[in-house]
Symmetry: C2
DNA sequence: ATCCTATTGACAGGTTCCTGACAATCTGGC
DNA sequence: GCCAGATTGTCAGGAACCTGTCAATAGGAT
């Protein structure tokens, strides 16, 4: 089935709108945990990658070191994660989630998983796989320079 | 093929990263037109919907009236679009793209279409259709209240 | 040992989003 | 005609992104 011209208004427009919609919907779920979508995602990454750095976070979400820094500063300020100097590299800080952070994340994660599962009902495993491959591939191609990402997973 | 648990870190995380990546890549293309991705998308909507309102823009991109207002204020300030009172509804303003806006948009659109076509190489028409339907459906389900969007197209 | 390039985290200022609130207006029900 | 609820655009303040810049550090080449 060929796509109509007007369906191709803009790919990035389509993705942006999907993101803004999901962010709003997920924010409703996260509100009771005092988190926003980006904060939740950041805690998820740190929990899954103990010892990772500010730059690692920025790379994983395809944002800037500055944006990651601000996010981490706020989460550290709330006691949800800690930053410690990396003895092996004095430029770098190592991130670890705190007990408080883990507790918040556990509840938030369940809520987000439930809501996202709802959103994706009606799609087959194959369709879901196509979407994931599309997102990963497109994201890779957007990266400046060679090679891919450190993986789609958090 | 069943998806692995770790592939399901978070759907919204995946979409967010795709958006941030595309935004960055498209910004490179738009730079010479003095536009950002959101500005480009807004001009595209106004060009395709002469007379639409601030709230129409907000709905079409799934953002807030305030966000749309700020975007439009900036574009109006640069002479790329105009706002005029709507004689049929004194609450509402009608948006129209200017000649300067159309000129900028024409060049920008060609550049974005080219780059987005590059990004999507390697995907079949069917796969592209799956992604579009996924985005539209997910976005619809995120909307509070009943019914769908005013359409995916701009 | 020196030097160059790259990387890191942070600062400053700007853009793009948000929530909450408000006044003006519209619309439908009574 | 009146009124209640909804809609619109805007204000104010905050969160999440960005670019450009800088100092400190790492690592490889010489």
């Amino acid at each position: 089935m060929a796509l109509k011209a007007e369906d191709m208004g803009s790919l990035s427009f389509m993705v942006r709108r999907t993101w803004l919609s999901m962010r709003s919907a997920i924010s409703v779920e996260l509100k009771e945990y005092g988190l926003t979508s980006p904060q939740y995602a950041t805690l998820l990454i740190v929990a899954g990658n103990p010892g990772c750095s500010n730059s690692d976070i920025a790379r994983k979400v395809a944002s800037t070191r500055q944006a990651a820094n601000e996010m981490l500063t706020a989460l550290e300020g709330r006691g949800l994660l800690t930053r410690a100097p990396n003895p092996a590299d004095r430029r770098t800080q190592q991130l670890h989630i705190t007990d408080a952070g883990s507790a918040v994340l556990a509840g938030a994660h369940a809520a987000v998983q439930r809501r996202e599962a709802e959103l994706e009902t009606g799609f087959t495993d194959e369709e879901r796989a196509v979407v994931r491959r599309w997102c990963e591939t497109i994201g890779d191609k957007c990266e400046p320079g060679e090679g891919g990402w450190p993986g789609l997973g958090v």
